[in-house]
Symmetry: C2
Amino acid sequence: MIKIVIADDHQLIIDGIKSLLVNETTIQIVGEAKNGEELLRKGLLMNPDLILMDLGMPVMDGIEASRRIKKDHPAIKILVLTTYADQKSIKEMLKTGVDGYLLKDSGKDQFIEAIHAIMNEKSYFDPRVTAVVMKSLQPQKKLSNTPTPLTLREKEIVRLIAEGKSTHEIAAAIHLSLLTVETHRKNIYTKLGVNKIASLVRYAINEGLLDQ
Amino acid sequence: MIKIVIADDHQLIIDGIKSLLVNETTIQIVGEAKNGEELLRKGLLMNPDLILMDLGMPVMDGIEASRRIKKDHPAIKILVLTTYADQKSIKEMLKTGVDGYLLKDSGKDQFIEAIHAIMNEKSYFDPRVTAVVMKSLQPQKKLSNTPTPLTLREKEIVRLIAEGKSTHEIAAAIHLSLLTVETHRKNIYTKLGVNKIASLVRYAINEGLLDQ
DNA sequence: AAGGCCATACCTGTTTTCAGGTAGTTAGTT
DNA sequence: AACTAACTACCTGAAAACAGGTATGGCCTT
């Protein structure tokens, strides 16, 4: 028997899910909460195996609640159930370590499948969610205004700068004069139209010059 | 009519794919290559719309070949067709900007579906591939996690630093003393264990502190 | 052979960051 | 009432980054 707590600020959603699962003999709804705070205070007392978590709740949202639960009770599974699939929410949720991510217009079958997959130590993500994530990992082709005119040497130095090395350290690392490295850095700044290390690092990360 | 070139070092695979597609009236195999070098030298002359790319080929592997093709001919679609779904290969391939990733034991239907999805400007990734990627994005349980202990003020200053503003500019922007901003910065560095703007910017981007 | 790009190296001076402190005020908690 | 966290502000000196040059040799292309 899988014990589930539902956290959602819309009573209608809670009731809908309940009726959806009423015939499922392997699943039992043992509690509900209207926000993250209530979930932590009351929901956890029911010792759930899995939490159905809405993202946008008042008082404490699903992201913060997930973070805390995964920190203090890593064994409890979390299935996010929400309407949005925007990149920011998804990435935030992934970082908290949730086990699955479903969109609210998913069918009942998908819903049950997700719960069982998660309880079997697997994860379950809606295909639309994975699509967003995969896309975000691919290089953005729209940034055509920067054809990366940097030379190999310059790219190498950009990498080292972005890694936090000082000019002095870079010079030592690639056996060049301090002044040469400075010259390269100045040329890079001119080419990229930046004038600060901070801007340079952002550029390097956006262009994928770093192996993360 | 979709013109396809196959790049694979196993003739058997090439023949298998050909016979698989022989009844597809919308797809035409216009060329083949046994490695990345041959693909670039001869395969591209056929003006393909899409390349079926094997990962592990001699002379020049699929990753390097994909990188070059996407650089010089971004309009040509690339569908990776391989046996492995290990994290490293997948990430490397994603970085080159390929349009899809199929495992070789996929069924014919999935195969055709992938080709058409890609030709319609969408991407297609085998669910097992997306599973690997999604998992890699989730936090590693053992590794020391950074629960972002920064205060609101500190996060604000991290944002401004990462935007390339100097301490002086930040002080002016949020009406604080130059020295206060410096103090905040020092506290941030201590908390995060960094000691350079470059490292700070990388942290900020990784933690999603920047709206970007 | 001339011109351009790349990589190398130097000079000078200013601005900014970094590292080590100390210290007061406010708001919230025990 | 004592304690703590967060925010504020200051001081000093060293290290680095930034900005503006100049200059030379190698290589490639026209």
